[in-house]
Structure formats: C-alpha cells, structure tokens
C-alpha cells in the first residue's frame, strides 16, 4: 500500500477508512492494539516426501511445546478439504486440499505426545451416513495409514449430526458481527484441543484461505442448508431452531459478509493450534474451478497457537501485506465483477471486487494480532521463506 508519498489513491483511502470506520464504530481500536500474540514457527519444506513427523516435532517445540496440552486429551483436527476437481497432473492434496502426509504426520505426532484420541473432522457428505473416509478416498488418500498413525484415530463427517444424536450450539465469545452463535456437530465441542489444518492458498471471495477461513467448513450444511445461500449471500435465513442473524438487513455482499462471519465462527470455536500446509498449493483461487488459478510450490509449513498471528505470518510468507486494505492484493479479488450489483463494488466502476481483511477484523475483536512487528517468528525468517504468490500468479516468477 502506498502511504505518505502523495500517491495515496481514493480507493486506498476508502479501503482503509471503510475498515477503520467499522473498527471505530465497534469501539475496538484498543482491542486491536492489545490483541494477543503468540510465536509462529516457519519451515521451508521441499516436498511431502520429507520426514514431516520430525518437522512438526521441531516446529511444535519452537512454539513452546504441546505435550502438556494434548496428553490424555481428545485432539480434533479440522481438515481443509474442498471440491474434488483436479489440476491436470496433480492430486487434490498437492494443490487445494491439505496433503494426506501432513495429516498423517500430525496424527502421528499427537499420538506420540500422548493424545488419548485424535479425531479427524471435515464437513463433506451430501447426506447423513456417508463416512468421512469416503471423502478422503475420493482424494486418493491412504486412509488406513492415517488410521494407524496413532493409537486411537476417529473420522467424522461434520456436515450433519455425524456420529452424534444432537448438535451443539456454541456462542461467539468475541464481539459478534453477523451471528452470535452457531449450531455445530458435537465433535467441535467435545474436544480438548482443536486444530485447524488449513491450506495456504488464495481464495476467490476471501483473498486467502489459511487456518481461519478453514473453519467456514465446520458449519453443518445438512442443518443450515446451502452455505452459499445462507452464509455467502444471506439470501435466506437459517432454519428455525438454529441461531439467527443479528441483522438480516446488513450488507449481503459476500466480500463483506464472509470475513465477518468466519471471524464469528472462530470466536465460537477458538482454534488452539493453527497449521498451514503450503508445501504445495495453488494461486489465483482456492481450487481448479477458479478461472486463472494454477498450482504452485511455496515449500512452506507454518504452525502457531494463535490463528490470527499464524495467518498473518503465513500471508507475509506469501508475499502479501497482512495489514493490506480491501483494494489491495490479496483482498482485491476478481471473482465476477459483472455478476454483482455495481453498488457493491466500492468505489463504483472497479474492475475487481473486494474482501475485507479477515485478520484485521479478528484483530479488532481481540482474537489475535496481525501486526508482524509484534509477532515472534521462529525457524525460517519471513524474508527467507517468502514465496511471492502475486508475482507467480502474474507469471513474473517460476515455481
């Protein structure tokens, strides 16, 4: 972002002032300044064939150790899977899903640390009763290898009731923006240590995916209905019996809604450990269905106890400014400008859309800091780790 050189454009002002106004209106400026921080471990990992168990053990030590937090506990890992398409010649785990070897290694490490149970979660099924393992098989995963990586490993599809008979309703513990509570599969409550295993990649509507965005998928679509209809655009309200929107008349634009909504989700189900799989990934969108997206190999792995700090450092290793405004990369998005009402494109006439910076929103409610100057990076420094997603997307560098 240009700052004091006199080139600060109208759109930049609007971007910053819009966000700042929201922050001030909520009276959260102080919260932002005092948002908690936690160290983030960064590793350069050439490929998924590396000894990832050893890597994670080292990285966990770098952030202060996890043994005391997981021993004899139930560890739940929310995986970042998504659509089953492929970039030609790549597996889903290489580009837009987290990789099975990352999941297997994490499972093994938690087992070694004495976790009583490792529960692997994701919302995948189009109906109740389809095991999560089927989704993993559809990505070509060796499910048995993961099952055998720790003494007790369970899989659960959380798109509905899954293995439980009732849902849990979790209140948003931070200042809510869109929803004050969410009704979720019970496994998101019945765990002692919650891990978000996110893919480090771009996103068509959000700009970035990372660990916070990964939690969008904990919402059970079999209960709420279509995520796109209910959450992205708010075209219909959630069904009766589950928490309603705070203000059904608020802005319906997904670039405005989704970052706030996901901040709420992270406030309802706090992340105890954020893991970012950026060993291989994709740029320009969250999967092969996004026009102009393509595979890349950032060779990065990050872990941290604070999801905002971890995502901020992750975004920095992607070559972006974690405090970027909504008209700057990566929050300047190009999903479908013509498909949106002109008034949603601020300022009018833009050829792109915007997404709010989710990290700044989370910071504003005191979830964590997105200020790199306050976050201690352990392992490989950001400058050495950096893989410039924007340059790669624009064809200005090789993988």
């Amino acid at each position: 972002m240009q700052t004091t050189t006199g080139n600060f454009s109208r759109r930049d002002w609007l971007a910053v002032s819009g966000l700042a106004a929201g922050v001030l209106a909520a009276g959260r400026a102080q919260a932002a300044a005092a948002a908690p921080v936690a160290p983030v471990a960064v590793a350069k990992v050439p490929s998924y064939d590396e000894d990832l168990v050893a890597r994670f053990e080292t990285m966990f030590d770098q952030i202060g150790g996890l043994g005391g937090l997981v021993r004899d506990k139930t560890v739940a890992m929310k995986l970042n899977l998504t659509g089953g398409g492929r970039y030609e010649g790549y597996t889903a785990g290489q580009t837009h899903w987290v990789h099975p070897r990352v999941v297997g290694a994490l499972t093994a490490v938690f087992g070694k640390l004495g976790a009583r149970r490792v529960r692997i979660l994701e919302s995948a099924g189009r109906r109740e009763g389809i095991p999560l393992e089927d989704k993993l098989l559809s990505g070509g995963w060796d499910v048995n290898a993961i099952r055998n990586a720790a003494p007790v490993v369970e899989f659960e599809d959380t798109n509905g009731l899954g293995l439980s008979k009732s849902y849990s309703t979790l209140q948003v513990r931070t200042a809510p923006m869109i929803f004050s509570a969410f009704t979720l599969n019970r496994s998101y409550e019945d765990c002692d240590f919650f891990v978000s295993v996110g893919k480090m990649k771009n996103h068509e509507e959000m700009g970035i995916t990372m660990s916070m965005k990964n939690l969008f998928g904990i919402t059970p679509a079999l209960l709420y209905g279509s995520r796109e209809t209910v959450f992205h655009y708010g075209r219909v309200q959630p069904p009766s019996g589950v928490p309603a929107e705070l203000d059904p008349k608020s802005n319906r634009y997904e670039g405005w809604r989704l970052p706030r909504l996901i901040t709420d989700i992270c406030g309802a189900r706090p992340i105890d450990l954020a893991v970012l799989d950026g060993i291989e990934s994709c740029v320009g969108g969250e999967g092969p269905w996004c026009l102009g997206s393509k595979p890349c190999k950032p060779q990065l792995l990050l872990v941290g106890r604070n999801c905002v700090c971890t995502d901020a450092v992750g975004v920095a290793t992607m070559g972006y400014n974690p405090r970027a405004g909504r008209n700057e990369a990566p929050f300047r998005v190009y999903k479908d400008p013509k498909g949106h009402p002109p008034e949603q494109l601020i300022p009018p006439g833009e050829t792109h859309q915007y997404a709010e910076n989710i990290m700044l929103l989370a910071e504003s409610v005191g979830m964590g800091s997105a200020d790199l100057s306050r976050i201690e990076v352990r392992g490989v420094p950001v400058k050495e780790a950096m893989f410039d997603f924007e340059a790669f997307w624009k064809g200005q560098m090789r993988a």
């Binding site: 659509g83 492929r86 030609e88 098989l137 070509g140 796109e228 969250e286 092969p288 269905w289």
Partner: protein, 521 residues
C-alpha cells in the same frame, strides 16, 4: 428402428458376398475398421475443401497410399477393415484412376483377409461409382457425407446396389444419435466426440467446488445404440483433436469398453511418418495395436450385461432427444451404474433386478406405464419422474413422495435438467442401489458389467486425463473370491480384496488409459 432379429440376416448376407469374392470370413461384427484414405482422388478432394496438408512429404504419402507396401503396415494387428477413398464427385478421369488403383489394392487386401469399404462423399454420383465398386468386389460402400445429404445419398447407393443385384453393404456415418438409432444400416455408425477431460475453468467456464471435470465420452452412446439393437455392431467416428498417442489409445479403448469400435483415424502426419518407418510413428502404432489386441483378447467382455440397479428409460421418439441423451451421458459422468431401457421395451421383465428407475424421459406416461411404474415404486422401488406424473412442486426442483413401500420423485421442469437429475441421483440413490462406487476418479469413467447371476463382475475403467490415474478405490456390493486387473500391454495383476460386511473393496494403484477389474464370485 430395425428389429434385433434382422441383424443376423444382414451379417449372413455380407458373409455370402465375401465368400463370392474370396474376402475375409466374418461379417461387420468382427471388423476392426480404419480410415485409410489416399490416392489421387483424395488429394483432389482435399484440395477442393482446403484440407490438403501443407507438408509436401505428407501430401506425397497421401497420394501414394494405395501402393501395396501400406498393407504391410497393418501386419500382425487386429485391423481387418479398410475405409478407402472411393468417390467424391470429382473429375471423371481422376475418379476412374482412383477406382483402378483402389480396385487392385482392394484385391490384395482381401487376399490378406482384410475387408474393404469404399468411402463416398456428398456430390458423388452412384451411377458412376457403384458399378466399379461391384466390379472391384468391395465389401460395401460407406457414405461419409456429413450432415447434409447423407441420407439421400445412402438411399441412392442402396437402390443402385439393389438394382445391380449386389448384396454389398451400405453404411452411413450418422450425424446424431437419433439418426444412428433410426438407421437401417448393418452397422450403427455415428459421429462421436474426441474423448478427453478438461477443467471447466480451462474452458473459461466459471463453476464451483462441486463441479466435476468436463469429460467428453462416447461410452453412453455406444451403450445406447447397442441397447437399441443388440447384436448390431456400433462404430464411433471421430477425428483426432491432436496427435498425442494417448488420445488414439483412449478412442479405441473407450469405444471397446461398451462393446463398440472406434473407426481408427490416424492423422496425415502420423501416416506419412509411419510409411517412412519413423520410430516414433511405429511406436505409436504398436501401442495402439496392443490396445486393439487387448480388446480382441477380451472379446467376451462385450457380451457382459450392464451392471446396475438403476434403470434409465429412454424414449427414442420423445420430444427431448437431447435430454434423453444427456440422462445417459451425465449419469455415467457421475459414476452411477445403470441399465438402458428403451421405452418400447418397458415392461415387467425389463424391471427385473432393478431398485430404481429414472423415467423422466416419459414426458407423459401411458396408463399402462404409470401402473407399471407405480407398482414398481409400491414394492419398494424408487421412481424418478417428470412433472406429468403430477403433484410437482412450484417452489422446489423436485418433491419426494412416499408410495407404499417405495417413493416417487417428481421434478418440476419438463424435461428435468439432466445435470440436476444426475447430481440429485447421488442423493436419492442409496449406496446399495449404486452397487459399485469408485473413489479418486475425477477424470475416469467406470462401466460395470456382469457375466450372469453367479458369473464374474467386470469393472472397466477409462482414464480421460493425459496423466495416469492413481490410487483408485473400488467398492462393490457382494462377496468375491479373487480379482484381477487387466490392462493393455501388461500382465494381469491379482488385486487384494478387503471385505467389510456386504462390501468388497479393492485398490487400483495406477491406471494408464484402460483397465478391466474382473471379480470372480
């Protein structure tokens, strides 16, 4: 539509003609066809339509294609039917020269047991090309006139042959499935697609995470035409989209998967390089020939009955032929095993063994059909119908209504959108009703067949990607003793079976293009 009982008679006629000219034994059901155009007429024809290759060496090869040595190129391969340039309404002197050249070539071919079909194009005059065809002993004439004039020319050729007392075959490349279905030709030949898979985004189409790769496939088409007339050979005509060897293998394999044949269509550049024995061209042919041999070695697979507990009713005379085709195409794309039921054959017997029925193509079921379907649902089946069934929702795409032990799903739109129906079937069908499930197959189509109630189950896999498919898992309802993976050019490999309850699961580590998993009960 020709009744199934007529095909043996046509085939016998062909055999009789072949015997008269000392031609290869066997009729069109055993022919493996290849486009083998060339000679001065082909050069003249291509010059006129602007498709003559610019490379002079390729042009030269095309012109000299009916020199005897080109027959040697096919030695040892299963190819036994040549489609040669016969008439295009060109200059009389060029046509005469072509007939003399091809006549001599055809005699040599037939001595080697190879059948010869003369290709005739729009603008050709039957009065000028039929007599020399009879004189040359061609096994038949094939009208390749494209969408315009094909039917008229075919009729003229048939009349001319009949008037001359010839029993030579008259074949036509139909432009649409409906034309092929209605054709009385001894072989159902239809213009197909060049098979392959692409991401929608690569085609400039915006989609969402649930979108699958776009797969251009002919498997459904072969199945449809075989269901229309069991026993009638089905040939797919499609021209190369690029010169990649894998594309040619895929064409041959995917037509064979469902019991049809691809009319092998080597491009000009390849043929020219092949003729001069260029190593890469020879290697390409050897790979394709291995694939054809594989198909021949597993000819019994062609007689397997389609596996499926879902029946899809197709009305060949219905008002929405495109939707009819797409129900078959897109259900296959969603890996849903099914059996094709033609509306005229919809009866109690056709429903035996089925648990679900997609009858959306019956835009208005007759009272008998309605009673049959209602009874099917009442006994525990699932019937998916269009709005003419009644009680469609105004707000929802479909409503699901219980009916005695079963249910009826009624769509609002007429015809229901095939894309939506195929997607919804995945929700509506239970895992048991699917019977066979395949995992990690974004660019693979699966076609299952069975060799009888206690016979083997065959699951054929066709990879439409340019990269090998890996780590495929198959789950089959039933208990099996052993399973083998067969692939062209490789020894059969026994697969490990994992049994869980009523299901058998097995893994295919890698699939190049075509594989058949044979499960023994």
């Amino acid at each position: 539509m020709i009744g199934a009982s007529r095909w043996p008679a046509l085939a016998l006629g062909c055999i009789a003609l072949s015997a008269a000219f000392g031609a290869p034994a066997g009729g069109p059901e055993s022919w493996v066809p290849i486009r083998w155009q060339g000679g001065p007429l082909e050069v003249a024809r291509r010059t006129l339509d602007g498709t003559l290759p610019q490379d002079s060496a390729v042009r030269e090869a095309l012109a000299r294609w009916y020199e005897p040595e080109t027959l040697d190129l096919l030695a040892g391969s299963p190819v036994n039917c040549l489609l040669v340039t016969w008439s295009s309404g060109g200059e009389p002197s060029v046509e005469e020269k072509q007939h003399a050249l091809v006549g001599a070539y055809a005699r040599r071919a037939r001595e080697k047991g190879i059948a010869v079909l003369g290709l005739v194009y729009a603008g050709a005059s039957p009065a000028r090309f039929v007599p020399p065809a009879i004189e040359a002993g061609l096994d038949g004439l094939m009208v390749d006139g494209g969408p315009e004039g094909g039917a008229a020319l075919t009729a003229q050729v048939a009349n001319a042959l009949r008037s001359a007392g010839s029993a030579a075959l008259v074949l036509t490349v139909a432009g649409t499935p409906a034309e092929a279905f209605a054709s009385s030709s001894a072989v159902a030949i239809v213009q197909g697609v060049w098979p392959g898979a692409r991401n929608l985004a690569d085609m400039g189409i915006r989609s969402g995470p649930s979108a699958d790769s776009w797969i251009d496939s002919n498997i459904w088409l072969v199945r449809y035409l075989r269901a229309a007339a069991p026993g009638r050979p089905v040939w797919i005509s499609s021209e190369p989209r690029d010169g990649a060897a894998t594309g040619f293998l895929r064409c041959a394999a995917e037509a064979a998967v469902a019991g049809g044949r691809w009319i092998i269509a080597p491009d000009d550049q390849w043929r020219a390089a092949w003729l001069r024995k260029a190593p890469e061209a020879l290697a390409k042919w050897e790979r394709l020939a291995a694939c054809l041999k594989f198909a021949a070695e597993h000819a019994e697979w062609r007689s397997f009955t389609p596996y499926g507990k879902l029946g899809i009713v197709v009305d060949p005379a219905g008002p929405s032929p495109d939707a009819s085709n797409e129900y078959l195409n897109l259900a296959a794309r969603r890996q849903i095993p099914y059996r094709v039921i033609l509306r005229p054959r919809l009866d109690r017997e056709a429903l035996a063994g089925l648990q679900a029925l997609l009858a959306a193509d019956l835009s208005a079921p007759t009272s008998e059909e309605r009673a049959l379907l209602g009874n099917f649902a009442g006994q525990g089946g699932l019937v998916v119908a269009g709005p003419s069934w009644g009680v469609a929702s105004k707000d929802q795409p479909y409503v699901e209504l219980p009916l005695a032990k079963g249910r009826v799903v009624v769509y609002r739109d007429d015809p229901p959108d095939p894309e939506e129906v195929a997607r919804d079937l995945l929700d509506l069908l239970s895992t048991e009703q699917m019977g066979v499930s395949a995992f990690n197959v974004p660019s693979v189509l699966v076609y299952a067949g069975t060799g009888g109630p206690s016979g083997p189950v065959l699951i054929q896999l066709l990879n439409y990607s340019g990269f090998p498919a890996e780590a495929i898992t198959l789950r089959v309802n039933g208990s099996f003793k052993r399973a083998w993976l067969h692939q062209p050019g490789a020894a059969a490999v026994e697969l490990t079976l994992n049994r869980t309850g009523q299901w058998t699961e097995l893994a295919v580590r890698e699939l190049a293009v075509w594989g058949g998993v044979l499960l023994e009960q």
